[in-house]
Amino acid sequence: MTLDYLLDAANWSLTSPDGFPQRILEHLGYTFLALAIATAIAFPIGLLIGHTGRGALIAVNLGNAGRALPTLGVLMLALALVGIGLVPVTIALVVLAIPPVLATTYAGVRAVADATVDAARGVGMTEPQIALRVEVPIALPIIIGGLRNASLQVVSTATIAAYAGLGGLGRYLFDGLATLQYDQVVAGAIVLAVLAVAIDLALAGTQRLLVSPGVNGRSTGNRPTTARPAPKLAG
């Protein structure tokens, strides 16, 4: 395996239009655009379905069907219907990202203990307050987990942008394959893999910052321990 292309300083020039910095930025651009749109669509719907419990069947089936769709096929369909450009690529990536975000938002909110929601209603929170101040913070580890999953898939798949004539890290893969320059293919694949891991780590860090210490990924409810009596309290 040859790493010449990856280690060539010229390919890391900030100004070069086909250098790594530029391609990474493009790649991140496609990724964030698709994630933002997918989240804007899927998060409110998932929250609504999770909070009301209505339409759960739709959420589950939509999530499963979405996972079964090959993204390459969706991209081709979008290209055939919309024409070349950023729009079909974004459509394909959004279709890819919606199922995990929708499914985890729904599942996370649904998993909040009934007693907690009941108490929130009982102390006089309005329905939007219950959803935003109680259900979302408690479901946050699961929701961010879904976002991590979605971003992983989108980063991986954003290579298809190059197949549709745009930039991003996919350029190295397809150009290298076309011209039989394997060192270019390897370089692109390595940078892509490192980028994916880096984004995942960044989101994992965000999760630590945002999630309340009282909530961990596993216990979404709160079950009082009755195994042993309370320690005798002072006063």
Binding site: A115, A119, R121, G214, A230
Partner: protein
């Protein structure tokens, strides 16, 4: 005062959880709804803060129909404690307690500082304020639940099986704590439980509810023990109700005998300070099996008298010096006359009720 006026809750599948309930909960008292599971007691409770809307009938708090106010606003004026506490796991103990005041527009700072005072009020130390619910024991969580319900100083407190999720020892502590708090605060409390002993212990008045939340009896606990209205109430109250009813009578009502009063050849022996040592008789010194102080209820006194070899309970003063004896035969006379009086009074009020 909370009034149920012909309240019915019928579900779309035809089940009637609450059937034409009419009942008045007095201000400043603990009223307990007790009954078997599925009898509609929780439904009745949850209609007071509109967690459940009645199909027909209305509920008034201090004369105002509860439906005239927005649900969320109404609930902020009514404390609500549920089984397992239902604390918010993502908020610290202090923020849990501060929830309602913040919802009502109190600044976070003020809400937190008054929350700190409330923690102490429910028997928790201030250093627990920064913990998360998962770091507390079940009993502590339940105390926080009570503090959260009291935070906005609501006149009314609804408690739905509040102590069912904790073990018996902790439950006993919490019940005692609630009675102490109620002594200080004098809230209007409606408490739901399936545990008749809890109902008898906590209630100023107890509503024994049968299916459809039909009040089989609504009376002070002593009356329910002394004279169950029907077989349903009697079976729910269970065994030993006569004996359990003694806990509502004052142990001091029985005339005392002096400590040198001999019984069947036994006399109480005391040490140099006057503390009881035992009963001296032909078989040597026999144990007293304990003593009681001022303020003990009749059940405790009767229990001591039964256990004593002399059939006499020993009363001691604040320093532990024996200062009197209660004999079984005196106790029997007192119990007999009390029960006669009570049943006569109930019979009169029943016939008056039927006449009016």
């Amino acid at each position: 005062m909370i009034e149920f006026e012909g309240v019915t809750k019928r579900y779309p599948d035809g089940t009637v959880a609450v059937d034409d309930l009419s009942l008045t909960v007095e201000t400043g008292q603990i009223t307990v709804f007790v009954g078997p599971s599925g009898c509609g007691k929780t439904t009745a409770l949850r209609m007071i803060n509109r967690m459940i809307e009645p199909t027909s009938g209305r509920i008034l708090i201090d004369g105002d129909d509860i439906t005239t106010r927005p649900e969320a606003q109404l609930r902020r004026e009514i404390g609500y404690v549920i089984q397992g506490a239902g604390l918010f796991p993502h908020r610290t103990v202090l923020d849990n307690v501060a929830t309602v005041p913040i919802l009502k527009g109190v600044s976070r700072r003020d809400a937190r500082s008054s929350a700190l005072g409330l923690l102490e009020r429910v028997g928790l130390t201030a250093d627990l304020g920064d913990r998360y619910p998962a770091q507390l024991s079940g009993g502590q969580q339940q105390r926080v639940g009570v503090a959260r319900a009291l935070a906005a100083d609501p006149p009314v407190l609804l408690m739905d099986e509040p102590f069912s999720a904790v073990d018996p020892v902790v439950r006993d502590d919490l019940q005692q704590e609630l009675l102490r708090l109620q002594g200080e605060l004098g809230k209007t409390i409606v408490l739901v439980t399936h545990d008749i002993d809890e109902a008898i212990r906590l209630g100023d008045k107890v509503a024994v509810l049968a299916n459809g939340a039909r009040p089989a009896q609504f009376a002070p606990p002593a009356d329910i023990l002394a004279s169950p209205a029907d077989d349903f109430v009697a079976s729910l109250v269970g065994r030993d109700r006569g004996f359990r009813g003694l806990s509502f009578a004052d142990g001091n009502e029985i005339p005392l005998k002096t400590i040198d009063h001999g019984v069947d050849g036994l006399t109480l022996e005391v040490d140099a300070d006057g503390r009881p040592l035992g009963w001296r008789g032909p078989d040597g010194l026999l144990p007293t099996e304990g003593s009681f102080r001022d303020g003990a209820n009749l059940r405790t006194v009767a229990d001591l008298a039964i256990l004593s070899p002399a059939g006499a309970a020993v009363r001691v003063d604040a320093e532990g010096r024996a200062d009197g004896l209660v004999l079984l035969e005196d106790l029997a006379g007192n119990v007999r006359s009390q029960q006669r009086e009570r049943l006569a009074a109930l019979a009169t009020s029943n016939s008056n009720g039927e006449a009016g």
